[in-house]
Symmetry: C2
Subunit: 344 residues, 2 copies
Amino acid sequence: MVQIPKQSAPSSPAQRPVPTSADVARLAGVSRATVSYVLNNTSAVRISEPTRRRVHEAAKELGYVPHAAARSLRAGHSRMVLMPAPTVPVGPLYSQFFNELQWALSRLDYTVVQYGGVGLHGDEAARAWAELRPVAVLVPGSGLGPEGLAVLKRAGARAVVTLGPERVEGAHALLMDHDRVGHSAGAHLLARGRRRIGVVMPGESGLEIFSRPRLDGVRRALRGSEASVTELPLAYAEEDAARLAARWRTLGLDGVFAYNDEYAMLLMRALQDEGVGIPDETAVIGADDLMLGRLLRPRLSTVHIELPSGRDLAELVDRAVRRPGAAPETHEVLGARVVHRDSS
Amino acid sequence: MVQIPKQSAPSSPAQRPVPTSADVARLAGVSRATVSYVLNNTSAVRISEPTRRRVHEAAKELGYVPHAAARSLRAGHSRMVLMPAPTVPVGPLYSQFFNELQWALSRLDYTVVQYGGVGLHGDEAARAWAELRPVAVLVPGSGLGPEGLAVLKRAGARAVVTLGPERVEGAHALLMDHDRVGHSAGAHLLARGRRRIGVVMPGESGLEIFSRPRLDGVRRALRGSEASVTELPLAYAEEDAARLAARWRTLGLDGVFAYNDEYAMLLMRALQDEGVGIPDETAVIGADDLMLGRLLRPRLSTVHIELPSGRDLAELVDRAVRRPGAAPETHEVLGARVVHRDSS
DNA sequence: TTGAAAGCGCTACCAA
DNA sequence: TTGGTAGCGCTTTCAA
């Protein structure tokens, strides 16, 4: 790591206090009320053009910026949509989804804020979020329990939406059941005539939320067939992959769902180094449909995942905020379809 | 995209108002002051144990959560550290850095918030941030100008830190000059005996902040030598890479710096499909030292990039907050070193 | 067309 | 040990 050395310096004179609307009023020679009317373009009241100009000029001269906290305190509500920041590196899929969401919510005049909550868990996290009195909270994963939801609602959140595997009673839910991903992969391998199927389980913590349901999905796809499932713990490291590959033939697997494309790449490389034929000896399929899969040889089969559109989620949020009493909506939003290439 | 259908439902009875400290006081049979003392563990004042218990019970019963905006309004300052959310998908390097930073700041009792600012630019963005009255603002990239800085300072931000290629007068700066990355790559290729060197310039917008300085770095490394530089515009798409590879031999390049490992993988694949020998005919080097580079054949040479530690940045922030008048610190924090593998 | 003033929820000073 | 209360910056009702 690059070091940032400690450094000291003489302190400069105390900074000027932050200008308030009262300062603007004083400078413009009007009342604070008038300032508010002018700066907010209040339509219920007519302010003369010269006065408007004076106010605007005063505001600009002072560099006045309204105080969001004071405003929302007075208003009794905010337009803040809060979302916990992801703590695991997130792929291009999610990035795009989030950007879209954020853009759409901005258009609806909401302010989107990601709350950095490393170290906060469960209800503790919900309390921290509630302190900010967001008008809506979007919770990915499965970190929200009934108690957390209650806290948020009591704190005035008019819309709480979970994005994850299960719904919470009373909250809106965008169900993203990764079971489907595993199911697609499993069904595909089965259809390709594979019967002894491995499923990679990432060793990295935080991924169980995805890997567990994906495994279940594979199991579900194979139910009623004579095919079997073998769990394959695998850390995202070359040596671990090599170790797994070394004992590959003893496992006797003819197909493997590698959790996602990145793990698939790791595993494929190790298998190829070991001389295991892909797809003849073992078929490999990943998930996420990343570019890298297309660049591998053999080209990697994968499960393409569709997230909901950010615009749709933004509209759901807006609807819920406007009709807070409405019954929670639940939507299955995770699409999964196999992209068959050469590795399976 | 998966559609979320519109949906309607009858609205339920109006929700109870959000409980305030006055409600807690009423229920506990004490004053609001006492509630505040108890819930904040104010050490300057002793509250009897029975009273404490009554207050805590009342708070729990009502599900009371303090109102952060009211608190910081009263206090005259917040503990919020604001950072614009990245709009481009961000790699594991940055994710780790951010997590570390966030964790370290939490330990120092700051609240870290990422502000979703798609669509906001320059001073407009600075104004939006200023409305939240953050105690510190961390700005990656080069989006902050002198005017934006002034706005933030006037709004009471006690620390403004830029993380990018250049400093802004009056703000702390963590200089991350990607020139160094290009310089390392260029020097390496030169040392390997390459003289006609290509530099991939990603077609994706938003990446110029990195690609331009990296290119300059290569140029700088080659200055004084007889080596030449050729810019290679390349979109992150197979076809575009194939197109580039098809005319590769007419370019007569014997070395290429591929911007980063992902573009390197894309280009290498296209070159190999075209029958171009790597590294004999053309040496390839990427950047970022991603896992995928180790999985390629030949293994990808790369420039390993070191970001500052999140802990150090957190300490810089804390220092600056505590001594707001101190002279801005500037640190060169981007480390770059070549990891030589088989592709160069 | 403009101003005076109340009050959002909270904390901290001063008094009891 | 506890309570009364002023006031943070803002909007909005009511009066002038």
